[in-house]
Structure formats: C-alpha cells, structure tokens
C-alpha cells in the first residue's frame, strides 16, 4: 500500500526511477516510522530509507527537532564530510506520505552488541573511540548560520527540566535526589561556546562497518548547547553494553575520544564531559521511569516497556559508581 505512494514519489524526483520494491517497516512508534525500500532503476536498485510521521501525527514531541530539521541537519552533515546518509528527498504534502524525508540507505550494523562482539568488527573496534572524537568535532563545527531553528538549552535549564520530569513521576529515589544536588553543585555554567549538539550520539545510533563509522543516525534530539554534552552522553555506561572499562560506547578510552576530538582542531573540557556523563546517566534513568509510567497509564502496555521501567536501578548503580565510588 505504501509502495504505490512511494512509487509515485520517486518517479517525480529520481530521474529514471520506475517504481519501488521491497518496502518493509523497520521500527518506531505510532508517531514516527522508518521504512526500508529499493528504488527500481535501470541502473540497478538504489537502497533507500523513509523516515516519516504518518498523516495526523504532524506535531513533534517537545524535545524533538522535527523531521524537517532532521533532514536539513543530515544533509548539512553529509556536505561537511560528517558520516551521514545523503538526504534524497523531503516529502511534500501532495505526496500523501505524511511529513518526513527519504535518504540513501547506508549498509552496516547498528546493533550495539553485535558491533561489540562480532568478528566482522574486530578490526574497527580499537579505532572507534578516536574516530568518534573526529566525527563529533566535525559535527560541532557545522556552521550555526546554516542550521534550522533548534531549541537551545543550558546545563541549568536541563537540570530544571529533568527535576520536573523526575518529580512528575512521584517516584522517590534517593540516588536521583543526590544526583540532582550534585548536578546543581557542579553546574559548570554557560558554555563559552554554543554549537550544534546531536543529543543522542551513542553506540546504537551509529552505522558501523568493517572500517569504522559509516553514518550518524537519529538526529531528532539535536539542539544548540554545550558541545561537551555529546562527549559525555557517548560515555554513559548504559551505552557500553557490558564493556564497562571502555567508556566510549564499549569501544575505547576517554583519552582516545579526546585525542580524536583535539586532533580535529577542537578543545575538550574534561570536567564538563564528566558533568554531562552524570547528567546523561540520570537522563536515561528518568526515561526508564517515563517508560514505567507509559506502561501503567498509556496505550503501550507492552512487556518490553514494563521491563525498561525496571532498568532504572542500572542507572542508580552507575550514578553511585560516579558520585560515591567504593575503594578498589
């Protein structure tokens, strides 16, 4: 059914295309869908991905940048040499596909556990922490005057927002309270520079091939802010998938990450990175609480969502390891 609309769409903007084949839904919730398909072309099939909000789901959640902004950011990143899929087309209302965009499909792996364990990536793994530093440096250098309109958040505003989210759960958690106090006591103040922040740059949102990073995905939480936020988030223990001694996504050390970032001509502030790692750990913990609430009250009464609620304690032990480490 979606193939008919996609066929009409690709014939309008992809010269030579005669239709599409193999459309299959990949993931996403009710308000946002990801589809893979091939554009049928005399030169051979062209792999493509559709990201869209179906009709009637136009409004983006408050923190999200929106699909149109996401398309612009990916295209800017692609043009600047940051590994990113090429955006092929931004949907228009008359195509009846909803809002969103179509991008080139980049082959590779996104499943973190496979990237961390499969032989195929054995050569890439030791390179990734440093490579990620270089990719983030490129991303933080995207020219501000070309960016779409994005929300802007200081560390102080983020603490306020997480505190509000946490209190709304009515879920007394002494470790989260302690973390909120720590964040207020260690708030580094406004960043000396404001850049694009990806907002969800982590193992799981990267397409990895045998040679390393092929593409950065999921730009929906992009905003303006402190570039050190991305360096802290990529180090959150939840994205190490068991490789807890390799802070950068389970791949390597902070030193390698920082070296890659600085080799690309940008400065690291390790204290700010630590602040954002603590903030990020709390952020994921509160998100687990949000999952519990949606399971209990909302339409998504799935077992998976229920179990994510029981993962908040993982962030509590990680917060204690950061804030009150025990002797080794």
């Amino acid at each position: 059914m979606i193939e008919a609309e996609l066929s009409r769409s690709v014939q309008r903007w992809c010269p030579g295309a005669t239709g599409v084949s193999g459309a299959a839904r990949l993931s996403g919730g009710a308000s946002q869908e990801t589809w893979r398909f091939d554009i049928v072309h005399p030169g051979g099939p062209i792999g493509a991905i559709l990201r869209r909000s179906p009709k009637g789901y136009g409004a983006a959640p408050t923190r999200a940048a929106g699909l149109t902004a996401e398309a612009q950011l990916m295209q800017l990143a692609f043009e600047a040499g940051v590994p990113s899929p090429r955006v092929m087309h931004v949907l228009t209302p008359d195509e009846e596909l909803g809002t969103g965009f179509i991008m080139q499909r980049v082959e590779g792996e996104t499943i973190a556990r496979k990237i961390l364990r499969d032989d195929e990536f054995a050569a890439a793994r030791p390179l990734l922490a440093r490579q990620i530093g270089g990719v983030l440096a490129g991303l933080h250098r995207l020219p501000l005057d070309q960016l779409p309109e994005l929300r802007s958040r200081s560390a102080t505003q983020e603490i306020d927002e997480f505190e509000r989210d946490y209190r709304s759960l009515n879920w007394p958690k002494p470790v989260f309270e302690l973390t909120l106090r720590w964040l207020r006591d260690h708030d580094p103040g406004p960043s000396t520079e404001t850049t694009l922040v990806h907002g969800d740059f982590r193992n799981g949102n990267l397409i990895i091939g045998a040679e390393g990073v092929r593409a950065v995905l999921d730009w929906e939480l992009a905003h303006l802010g402190d570039p050190m936020e991305d360096l802290g988030w990529v180090c959150v223990n939840s994205w190490r998938f068991g490789e807890i001694d390799k802070p950068v996504g389970g791949f390597g050390s902070r030193e390698e990450l920082f070296a890659g970032y600085e080799a690309a001509g940008r400065k690291v502030d390790p204290a700010r990175v630590k602040f954002w790692e603590v903030m990020g750990t709390l952020r994921w913990g509160i998100m687990c609480g949000g999952m519990m609430q949606r399971f209990r009250e909302g339409p998504d009464h799935s077992m998976e969502r229920a179990m994510i609620g029981r993962r908040a304690s993982e962030t509590e032990i990680d917060l204690l390891r950061l804030l009150a480490p025990r002797g080794s």
């Binding site: 309270e177 909120l180 998976e304 304690s313 993982e314 390891r321």
Partner: protein
C-alpha cells in the same frame, strides 16, 4: 494462611515450562517477546524470594539514618526529601553505605547480570 505451592514455586514452574517446552517451538519477534516474558517471571521470582529480607534491612538502616519510623516507602520519601533540602548528603555518616546496600539489593532482583553490579559484587557486595 494460603495453601501451597507458594507463589515463588508457581511462578518458577511457569517460567521453566516456557523456557524448556515453548522456546524451542517459537521463532522471530514472538521468540523475542517470549524471552522478555520469561525474564519478567524470573524477576518476579527473585523479588518474591528476596524482597522481605532486603526491605527489612533497608527499613532498619533508614530508621537509624533518619531517626524516625515508618514503612519502607514512607522512609524512602523522607530520605529523598532530606537530600533534596540538603539536610543529608554524602558527608552524612551511613548515607553512602545505605545507598550502596539498597542499590545492590535492587540490582540483585532487577538485573543480576548487569556488568556494573557484577563488578561491585566482586568487591564484597
């Protein structure tokens, strides 16, 4: 007093049935969902086994820390409030030990395979 088998025994029997008899018959997304279901039953079994003793230890620590009495929920709420007000912090004797002990007891139920938990368990629990 209710009759036996106990909830722990019943839940474990269902989990073992799903694990041993049903898992080999199912594939794809349903197999993933089945694994989640089994994980839930295992978690419930661990909680039924451990909760009473760990809650009792937690209440005892909280009473000493706060100098007041109450249920485990009330005492946690009181501790959360005192931390929020800055009346209790990591310099308060016993707080770090209490949070560590409580968190370890939670992980023992929620995610005993979580790498951070296994590392800390290796330090002596």
């Amino acid at each position: 007093m209710q009759d036996e088998p106990t909830p722990i025994e019943l839940t474990k029997a269902v989990a073992d049935f799903l694990r041993n008899d049903i898992t080999p018959l199912i594939s794809g997304h349903q197999a993933f969902k089945l694994r989640v279901a089994i994980n839930i039953l295992d978690l419930v079994t661990r909680q039924l086994t451990q909760e009473e003793a760990s809650d009792a230890r937690e209440v005892e620590r909280l009473r000493a820390l706060l100098g007041m009495d109450g249920s485990v929920t009330e005492l946690n709420r009181a501790l959360a409030e005192r931390i929020a007000k800055g009346e209790v912090d990591l310099a308060t004797p016993g707080l770090a030990e209490h949070l560590w002990a409580t968190t370890m007891d939670k992980l023992a139920v929620d995610q005993p395979n979580y790498a951070s938990y296994k590392r800390e368990l290796g330090r002596g629990g």
